[in-house]
């Protein structure tokens, strides 16, 4: 492998405007063509090899990370143009805090600067329709970086077409633990104290209120019809007062006996916890299942990334190239092979379906 400054003529040629233009057209053409086949809905990248790249090319580690970021920008472009819905990147592991302070600080300031730049160009991001989300242990991010993070997230929150998940301080075990913890929290909170006991759109308190109102209306109607029954029902003012009192209290009870029950807390049944419950508490809850996970730099390990998401039917690909070298030309074979496998899989399914039909 030569140094970055080698083969100047080659570089001059490749970066001369007409060649650059042609290459760009070619890229667009390839991306457009890839779109014709099946496209993974959710792709994850482990951006490994920045430091080794820097070491190989005798440049600063921080500069390696910078090049890695450029590589990320290029690959994101490819992903979103081909129609990938969700891209998840492993930006920073909780374990990475153990690296040298200099490097951690540099990475953090890089994240800050890039996120700030991102926030400046909200309109451009809208073209991709991508929203940024940050997954991980927020407590570990320093306040100034967190501010930039929140700003970028808020700015792009309205975009629905695509999602960029940045795992920043993240480990998968932490994610699973948090999911378990949250589930336990949900199930160990008495139902009556829950703001919304279920995810149904109808709120019980609202229904109760409507019923009460109807009852009240019926009351008043009957009162208008039969004024002599007035003594039986409480005066309208009194009912209105009671209504106010009731609606001001958070209790969802319509009638008093239920209120007594709430002293003995009732819980959701733990037996109803399923894999889906935990899924919903993962940080990638609303993302489609992970289709493809790419790790560069030849290390064949998951390193605490997306364990819960990728152990089912995800195609995991380990590549030899280092992350800063990763580009469309390395990604293309991966994508085409995935498409090929997908086609094979579908054929097989069809065949087995046909067989089961003929049986």
């Amino acid at each position: 492998m030569g140094s970055l400054h080698d083969s100047r003529i080659h570089k001059w040629f490749a970066t001369s405007p007409p060649v650059a233009w042609t290459v760009r057209q070619l890229r667009e053409l390839l991306i457009g063509s890839l779109k014709q086949g099946p496209i993974p809905q959710h792709v994850a990248f482990v951006m490994d090899g920045n430091r080794r790249f820097a070491r190989n090319h005798h440049i600063e580690t921080v500069e390696g990370h910078n090049l890695g970021f450029e590589s990320l920008a290029r690959i994101l472009e490819v992903c979103y143009k081909t129609g990938v819905k969700v891209v998840t990147i492993y930006a920073f592991s909780i374990e990475n805090f153990k690296r040298s302070k200099h490097e951690v600080d540099a990475l953090m300031s890089m994240a800050k600067v890039k996120l700030q730049q991102l926030a400046e160009h909200g309109a451009l991001l809208d073209r991709y329709g991508a929203s940024v989300r940050v997954l991980g242990q927020r407590e570990l991010i320093s306040p100034d970086v967190l501010q930039a993070v929140d700003k970028a997230v808020a700015m792009t929150a309205h975009n629905k077409k695509a999602v960029l998940n940045v795992c920043f301080p993240y480990t998968s075990r932490h994610e699973i633990t948090t999911a378990v913890m949250k589930t336990v929290e949900t199930y160990s909170t008495p139902i009556h104290n829950l703001p919304t006991p279920s995810k149904r759109t109808f709120s019980e308190s609202h229904i109760a209120q409507t019923i009460r109102k109807q009852m009240l209306e019926e009351d008043t109607e009957s009162r208008v019809e039969q004024p002599e029954s007035r003594s039986a029902s409480p005066s309208p003012k009194a009912t209105a007062q009671a209504e106010d009192e009731r609606s001001s209290s958070t209790s969802t009870a319509i009638n008093p006996p239920e209120k007594d029950e709430s002293q003995e807390p009732t819980f959701l049944d733990p037996e109803t916890i399923g894999a889906q419950t935990l899924n919903d508490h993962m940080m990638t809850a609303d993302a489609p299942p992970l289709d493809l996970l790419v790790r560069t730099s030849g290390v064949e390990r998951l390193s605490d990334f997306m364990l819960w998401q990728c152990h089912e039917n995800t195609s995991i690909v380990f590549l030899k190239c280092l992350w800063p070298e990763f580009d469309l030309w390395q990604f293309l074979p991966v994508l085409v092979e995935w498409q090929w496998q997908q086609k094979k899989l579908r054929e097989e399914q069809q065949r087995s379906r046909g067989r089961s039909k003929s049986d």
């Binding site: 570089k11 490749a14 970066t15 001369s16 405007p17 650059a20 042609t22 760009r24 057209q25 053409l29 390839l30 457009g32 063509s33 779109k35 014709q36 086949g37 910078n66 290029r74 472009e77 979103y80 730049q117 400046e120 160009h121 309109a123 451009l124 073209r127 991709y128 329709g129 629905k160 077409k161 998968s172 075990r173 699973i176 633990t177 378990v180 913890m181 589930t183 336990v184 929290e185 199930y187 160990s188 733990p270 916890i273 894999a275 935990l278 064949e300 998951l302 390193s303 605490d304 364990l307 990728c310 152990h311 995800t314 195609s315 380990f318 580009d327 469309l328 030309w329 074979p333 085409v336």
Partner: protein, 347 residues
């Protein structure tokens, strides 16, 4: 490096945010990026309407340009690429198949533990806990590896290799967990295979277990004897533990743990703050398995098929591209890869 389609000026501009030595502000940067961006979003109705309005106002043929011709071009190129790559994949598979066969010819173990021990002699580090993923194939009995018999056969062979290489703990993952129903029979089969490899006197002691089921080691082979007796015997008769895992030990077990914790929390036995990574790790470690050092896949691609997720954290994952079925060379190459040693074919 070269094929990015940007000129040096643009590259510097993107990298440093300067053009001709001048610092750019946000607007100038946006101008610079314009040609690289995709078309304006068409998903939202608003944008669509705006675009239609603009198109009807200004240039009607412009919207036509992205029409059938380009679509056809994309279509053609897509199929061309697909064809090209499928030819490439087939050739690559054929090449790898031949290479694999050659290696397995050169490195055959002859069912002799000494050969295997010799093969791994130069490796500086061996996994303490090896894990493999095997598959239960219902039909497709082209190589006699189908059904329960084929599966047991695979497990026996792998166990024998692991014992010969000196690996003390082997966990076998099989999605359906069918072997868990036949613990005694599986134990007997592995036992026989070990005998065939090592001979009756030197065969290692064996215990077979599965999560939630008690360990199975028949009375005539108590696992402790090797440790209790003298050192020389211990060296001779090593102990192999085989652990059977299935899909149930993955997500379902974590779900079970959550249920238990939720129940305990409802009774007030456990507080939310007490649930941490160490607790979960300890529970899963004790009840399912520890983290394997090396995971070997015998499938052509890396798909984990429901392998317990928690345990996979730092596990080295090895697979031989385009390999199909259990064979010794995959096992050996995985060990070489794990020890970061280049495998030499000539001896």
């Amino acid at each position: 490096m070269a094929a990015r389609g940007t000129t040096p000026q643009q590259e510097i501009a993107f990298r440093r945010g300067t053009l001709h030595g001048k610092q750019l502000d946000a607007k100038q940067r946006e101008e610079l990026l314009k040609p690289f961006l995709p078309a304006e979003p068409t998903s939202s109705d608003e944008a669509k309407a705006a675009r239609r309005r603009r198109a009807s106002l200004k240039s009607k043929p412009k919207s036509k340009r992205h029409g059938p011709v380009k679509t056809f071009l994309y279509f053609a190129i897509y199929h061309f690429i697909a064809l090209l790559f499928s030819i490439f994949f087939r050739f690559r598979r054929a090449y790898r198949l031949v290479r694999g066969k050659l290696i397995s010819l050169l490195k055959y173990h002859h069912r002799t533990p000494e050969f295997i021990a010799h093969d791994v002699k130069n490796l500086v580090k061996l996994p303490k806990h090896l894990s493999v993923i095997v598959e239960y194939q219902e039909d497709d009995g082209s190589q006699g590896t189908a059904g329960l018999e084929g599966l047991v056969n695979d497990v026996c062979e792998i166990a024998a290799w692991a014992a010969s290489a000196g690996i003390p703990l082997l966990s076998v993952y099989e999605r359906t967990g069918v072997l868990k129903n036949y613990l005694p029979q599986t134990h007997a089969s592995i036992w026989n295979t070990l005998e065939a490899y090592f001979g009756a006197r030197r065969k290692p002691t064996l215990s077979l277990r599965a999560p939630h089921l008690s360990s199975y080691s028949p009375p005539n082979t108590p696992p402790q004897t090797a440790e209790l007796n003298g050192d020389d015997l211990k060296e001779d008769r090593q102990h192999l533990t085989v652990l059977l895992l299935s899909e149930h030990d993955g997500r379902d077990t974590i779900v079970d743990l959550t249920r238990t914790l939720a129940e305990m929390a409802q009774k007030g036995d456990v507080h939310q703050e007490q649930i941490n990574m160490e607790l979960i790790d300890a529970q899963l470690n004790d009840h399912v398995s520890s983290e394997p050092d090396l995971l070997i896949l015998f499938s052509p691609t890396v798909q984990l098929k429901g392998y317990p997720p928690w345990q996979l954290r730092l596990t080295e994952i090895f697979h031989l591209p385009d390999n199909k079925g259990v064979n010794y060379q995959v096992f050996l190459r995985a060990l070489y890869n794990f020890a970061k040693v280049e495998m030499r074919l000539g001896r």
